[in-house]
Amino acid sequence: MQERPLLEVRDLETHFFIGKDIYKAVDGVTFTIHAQETLALVGESGSGKSVTASSILQIVPDPPGKIVGGEIFFEGENLLERTDEQMREIRGRSISMIFQEPMTSLNPVFRIGDQIAEAILLHQELCDASGKPLGKRARKRKAQEQAIAMLEAVGIPDPATRARDYPHQLSGGMRQRVMIAMALVCHPKLIIADEPTSALDVTIQAQILRLLRQMQDEFHTAILLITHDFGVVAENADSVGVMYAGQIVETAPVDDIFAHPSHPYSQGLLLSIPRLDQQGQELYVIKGVVPNAARYPAGCRFAPRCPICQQRCREEMPLLRELAPEHFVRCHFADLNVNATAQAAAEQNGGN
């Protein structure tokens, strides 16, 4: 894994300017994704996961949002220095996105086949057998054919007929398959999947996640998977970044983060999920609430809720430090082999 990463995000800052307040939705996010790797960004709502994703594609609504700092290197080039026109070339061709709610992200008044074909017509030089560019009508026909082939690849039965359907005629799972077909049709190097299965039932979720993995194997795509479900993370990601209050607080290979969660927030999140494979005792509760993005505490942002918080935490913001190879954590007192939160929870239960 020594070669240059596919995507490298460094100290990204995306702020929203609303009234007199500055909401620091993303405030110093750093991570890398290698080719064919799946990185999962986990965190609760409002932690900045989706804004991070939008920032990479520069689709943050401006105003009020603005990328105010940092660098996003994709294949070695800083995307933040690209012009709008160059970014349009990248979106959909090199990096594409799958959104959470397929109904609101597909255009309701166009047939799904045409919507997929549009991406092909925009981004691909379509040539005939001898390499000569095709005429307008032939291009359209070819794009339709490719769209239908792609629908078939994502497991839509009777793709030629379905291509003439409108989004409302499809079920949620089918719509998400169409989104995946659209995202993959130009063979991008990176797919950003923002909560791709959160709106779906579990049996459909299992189908869609299996499809994403199959497509990743077939097209050698890297995936930035945004989710709040640790189960989805465990079964799909190679590495994990845990976000809290606009920052990455812990990042590690997937096995590490589940075996040795080191940031008290990651520990708390993992302890607070009711699990199928464990008997139900009292669930751990992270006390307090997520801080307001316009008024973060001075030191560590998790300090007010942290079971091992000390004076230093309230004064000095911790930096990401390497606890073990490839395992970074943003905490002054984190120790790889100590689950401070589990200890605190045990004491709390013992006291009751």
């Binding site: 609760e44 709502s45 079920s171 799972g173 089918m174 039932d201 579990v202 049996t203 459909i204 979720q205 299992a206 189908q207 996640l209 299996r210 709040h228 479900d229 640790f230 189960g231 989805v232 993370v233 465990a234 079964e235 799909n236 997937v254 096995d255 589940f258 075996a259 708390g268 999140l269 993992l270 607070s272 999920i273 009711p274 699990r275 199928l276 494979d277 464990q278 139900g280 009292e282 669930l283 751990y284 509760v285 992270i286 609430v289």
Partner: protein, 346 residues
């Protein structure tokens, strides 16, 4: 005396059809079809299933928020659909509901103090100082401060709003509460707070819950017994531990297998269902699950299986389950593996 032996809540052959329009023609949507179950006092029955399976409709039927097409619900031996006037109002005091969406189920123009006080006033349970004391007590139950009670719903977070909804449900001192997806709109850290609160309240106040959710992990955490619904029917009903250790219905097996476990060291054989839940308009003739079931054959397509008690308290509606050893082997072996891996890990 029959009252002594009668279960706390008894649901028998309950059905609900909705008249809808499909393709411009009148059609009947069969939301709930002939379901029966009982709940004992202080017990939690979990209802689990995918969207559209009829679990919320069931929740609304059993507290008479919807009129059934046919069937009967008895609370402490009293038929809730036969009750009229003051009797019906008295029944309402016994049964309450906590809704899924804490953003939509609170009146945005009412201060939360008034929201919580309203049921007390309607049922004429307290006034003046007693009303004040009772509302403050309820706020205390759900962990909100008296100072916060002067605010409007939009000033609260999702978790806090769900607490307000719980306080409102508790106001009339009910015995039975339907919890309709109470945590599915909440973040995990907030979810754990609300689940713990519901469990504490049940212990302290002796409540009986019908707990509806689509998350099998949440259901397992909360329930004593679990009913699995598919297309308006209960396909498996069993004590919680038996359902998770030895699921007998193929749909339950698939549902359990579909849930990602937050532990990358667990390797399991996945049993992924193909296709979608069929439409409840014109549902299949025979077994509701037969179109997606890997074991289905002719009898499944033509005759609907009845719930049968295959082990003590463990009811399953499937033609294939007792005859075919494949299903039981698969279920026990696949999940036994998971169990042992977990034990080693923890």
């Amino acid at each position: 005396m029959p009252e002594v032996t009668a279960p706390f809540l008894e649901v028998a052959h309950l059905s609900k059809n909705f008249n809808v329009k499909a393709n411009g023609k009148k059609a009947i949507l069969r939301a709930v079809h002939d379901i029966s179950f009982t709940i004992d006092r202080c017990e939690t029955l979990g209802l689990v299933g995918e969207s559209g399976c009829g679990k919320s409709t069931t929740g609304r039927l059993v507290i008479n928020l919807l009129e059934p097409t046919s069937g009967m619900v008895k609370l402490e031996g009293q038929d809730i659909f036969a009750a009229k006037g003051p009797q019906k109002k008295a029944l309402r005091r016994k049964m309450q509901i906590i809704f899924q969406d804490p953003y939509a189920s609170l009146d945005p123009r009412m201060k939360i103090w008034d929201t919580i006080a309203e049921p007390l006033i309607i049922h004429n349970l307290a006034k003046g100082q007693a009303l004040h004391n009772r509302v403050n007590e309820l706020l205390g139950y759900v962990g909100l401060s008296v100072a916060q009670s002067d605010r409007f719903p939009h000033e609260f977070s999702g978790g806090q709003r769900q607490r307000i909804g719980i306080a409102r449900a508790l106001a009339v001192d009910p015995q039975f509460i339907v919890c309709d997806e109470p945590v599915s709109a909440l973040d995990v850290s907030v979810q754990s707070q609300v689940l713990n609160l519901l469990k504490d309240l049940q212990r302290e106040l002796g409540l009986t819950y019908l707990f509806i959710a689509h998350g099998l992990n949440v259901i397992k955490h909360m329930s004593d017994r679990v009913g699995v619904m598919y297309l308006g029917q209960i396909v498996e009903l069993s004590p919680a531990h038996a359902l998770y250790e030895d699921p007998l219905h193929p749909y339950t097996q698939a549902l359990l297998s579909a849930i990602p476990i937050p532990d990358p060291t667990i390797e399991r054989e996945r049993f992924i269902l193909e296709g979608n839940v069929p439409s409840p308009i014109d549902p299949p003739e025979g077994c509701a699950f037969c179109e997606r079931c890997p074991y289905s054959d002719e009898i499944c397509r033509t005759r609907r299986p009845d719930l049968a008690e295959l082990a003590p308290g463990h009811w399953v509606a499937c033609h294939k389950v007792d005859t075919s050893t494949i299903t039981s082997e698969r279920s026990s072996s696949a999940f036994a593996e998971t169990e042992t891996t977990c034990k080693e890990d923890t």
